[in-house]
Amino acid sequence: MNMTSRRRVTHSIIFVLLLIGAVFMIGPLLWMLSTSFKDKQDVFALPPVWIPRPFHFDKYSEIWEAGPLLSGIKNSLIIAVTVTIVGTFTSSLAAFSFAKLRFPGKNKIFLLMLSSLMIPYPAVMIPQFFMFSKLGWIDTLLPLIVPGLFGNIVMIFFLRQYLSSVPNAIIEAAKIDGSSYFRLYSSITFPLIKPAVAAQLILWFMGIWNDYLSPIIYLNSPEKQTLQLVIANFNATYAIQTDYPLIMAASIIALLPMLIIFLVFQKQIIESVAISGVKG
């Protein structure tokens, strides 16, 4: 066998193996989607039915009455949108300052922030709970919103790294022209780092949207809960009635927005993840 045909054979083998792997990755999710279109009896059919006949769309109309799904979506959106917009502003401003301005103690403060990444959320969640409980914020969205407004250290770190590739000369020149420091950030730096900001913002948004531990600590009443808690409650309630199509339909609703965002921005997201890993 010559080189090219041998390469072709190995390529085909790799392709087939990747394809089998892909089936395992996406299979369970497709099964979830297919279950959401079944009627209650078809769910228990053996061997399993992958393409329901006929398709039942009624679970997707039923879920809105079966639990506070709509308010779950609304609460998740309020938290994620407020935090990412305000938090991205504070984070990018701080990243600009850390990367391009000179002030005493800068590197020490930056190191302090970085080392705080080592402190896991479970280690601080109990005193945090009492802080917010004293303020009367339990069962409101505030404990999930307010800490994020102060910025995100991972984002600051990432943007600071990214800013090191922006030449200082541009900023120095504008400084001498008498531009204010906020303008240096808003009209010179920010436009340059927009793609990095966007990728980080999306990743952060997804993290908040999918978060489960902090909402479960703070939110009790059904109408205050985030989407993730609402679907977990669907699971607890309707599993007893073996209404799996309903549970799966609700879960699909929880997955879908992030899936769409990912498919639209997959290039930026994948790049951002790859860079943050390789650079440590």
């Binding site: 990747l18 301005l101 896991p120 601080v124 999918n210 549970i247 799966m248 997959q266």
Partner: protein, 296 residues
Amino acid sequence: MNVKSNLYRKEKIYGFLFILPPLLGLLIFTLYPMIYSIYGSFTDWDGLGQMNFIGLSNFKDLWSDELFHKALFNTLFMMLGIPIGITLALLLALGLNRGVPGTTAFRVIYYVPVISSLAAVSIMWNWAYNGDYGLVNQFLDLFGISGPNWMANKYTVKPALIIMAVWKGLGYTMLLYLAALQSVSRSYYEAAELDGANGFKSFWHITWPMVRPVTFFIIVTNIIGGSQIFTEMNIMTPTGGPEYASASVVFYIWQKAFGNFQMGYASAMAVFLGVFIFVVTLIQFRMNEKQSFDVD
């Protein structure tokens, strides 16, 4: 001169002002609670009455608390998924790095579980692990294997959670490896080929050492993430599983703190967890230092 020093004074003020929000956030929402956690771990804090200092009593109780031992063992056991995930992800990345058709599509497909909500996929896997009608056992049936009722059996519940965790995280690890592989210069392989190195040899002497920093990064972040595992058990085994076989440390902390209001005791566990993560990170930094000496 005067203008310049004036400029610098202004820069000092603005520079500090711009980092003030995250700095305040760090002090209020991380450092202060952390100190409070440490203090609380030495008290009989119940969330309502007075906090009485009881010394190391909570830590002594942890030492003899069988449920804590179980939760700790479960958490560590489930980290067996880390080497499995790393091996699979590296194999996948090596496959994808050869430029087979459909690379972009594969990257997207393998990454979909990563972005999927953990709550939703926990619900889905819980149903897939159902003993009678679940997808997993129906698949095993094809090979004539009759699978167990995964989540209800104390021997299978942890492997079931490991399989799910590997599935969920594989795309992320694969992506990191793929990025690392793409930064390895082709000339190394060409030189190795001239020297007569076969595929495995060039993997062992070139690829593996080159991706070592990424491997470290993955191991450390996975241990940190794995030690905080919670959502899966909370949704799939709300009572901690058969004979508490799937409860994790964070699950137990959460139960003690917000279920039993044993805040002091839960804080002691939280401090334990924090120290564990600190030590893991410290080891990583040490190893990285050593590594850079190797390169020099």
